[in-house]
């Protein structure tokens, strides 16, 4: 009886532990320095200084009275859990973005920034 119980216990543990978990992390990286934003003054800083500080933008959007330079990077985190007949998958992607509005004279008029990539998290889909 003791032997039977031991075998059953071992099989139970094997059955419960059958499955696997996967964690993944993906980064779409464009290096830009958040602190360099302190050097940008609307009405004074030029487009060339922006590209000097932040490098080439990811996108340039043509506007009627100038351009918008868009800088973007993202961090994605994926979690997967495979149990015997159940699979749970979760992907979370968050972004850091800076947008500079540059007038036709090549001067920054406005800029906006948001840094959320660190909010990407490993989680379950519920």
């Amino acid at each position: 009886m003791k032997g039977t119980r031991l075998v059953i216990s071992m099989l139970l543990v094997a059955a419960i532990c059958c499955g696997c978990a996967v964690f993944g992390r993906g980064k779409n990286f464009v290096p830009f320095n958040e602190n360099a934003l302190k050097q940008v003054t609307p009405g004074k800083t030029g487009a060339s200084e922006v590209t000097q500080l932040f490098g080439p933008p990811n996108r340039i959007v043509k506007l009627s009275n100038g351009n918008a330079y868009v800088y973007e990077r993202s961090l994605g985190k994926g979690t997967g859990l495979w149990l015997v007949v159940l699979t749970f998958v979760n992907y979370d992607t968050q972004f850091d973005r800076i947008v500079f509005f540059i007038n036709n004279d090549g001067v920054v008029t406005h800029f906006g920034s948001s840094f959320n990539s660190e909010k990407a998290s490993y989680a379950m889909p519920f």
Binding site: I8, L11, V61, L63, V84, T87, F88, G112
Partner: protein
């Protein structure tokens, strides 16, 4: 004592059955999220009064800047997708040639969005806010 052994054996049988049907039966639940929560616009944001810098200060950088033939718009967006798939199969291909299986899946991608439309001078002209993720998942999927 006898009862305890019987319940152990029953539990073992259930787990072995679960093991045996793995590959025959599977359920996958998936969630994909892009972007953070989008806040509703402040009551202070008024068309023809609010300026571009106020919106940028409150919302930060938008996901998209779109030229609108003179005017332009800023799009703030969070995408949330939920999906599930269920498959039931009988892996008999090594025994019989027919290999019956049923597989079904569905997913729904929803958005929380705020769009601000500005004049070329950077004055707010119009704004729209929609929180798609608060709607009923079931109704949105089937309607």
């Amino acid at each position: 004592m006898r009862c305890l052994s019987e319940s152990w054996i029953r539990l073992a049988i259930v787990l072995f059955l679960a093991q045996a049907v793995s590959g025959c039966l599977s359920l996958q639940i998936e969630k994909t999220q892009e972007g953070v929560d989008i806040l509703p616009p402040l009551a202070e944001f008024m068309p023809m009064r609010t300026k571009l810098d106020e919106i940028l200060a409150y919302y930060g950088a938008p996901a998209e800047v779109v030229d609108m033939n003179g005017d332009f718009s800023l799009h703030y967006r969070r995408a949330l997708s939920r999906g599930a798939s269920l498959s039931i199969g009988f892996p008999l291909k090594y025994t019989f040639l027919p290999n019956p299986s049923i597989k079904t899946n569905g997913d729904l991608l929803r958005y929380d969005t705020t769009v601000f439309i500005f004049t070329a001078d950077g004055v707010l002209k119009d704004m729209k806010y929609s929180k798609g993720t608060e709607r009923s998942l079931w109704e949105d999927y089937w309607n």
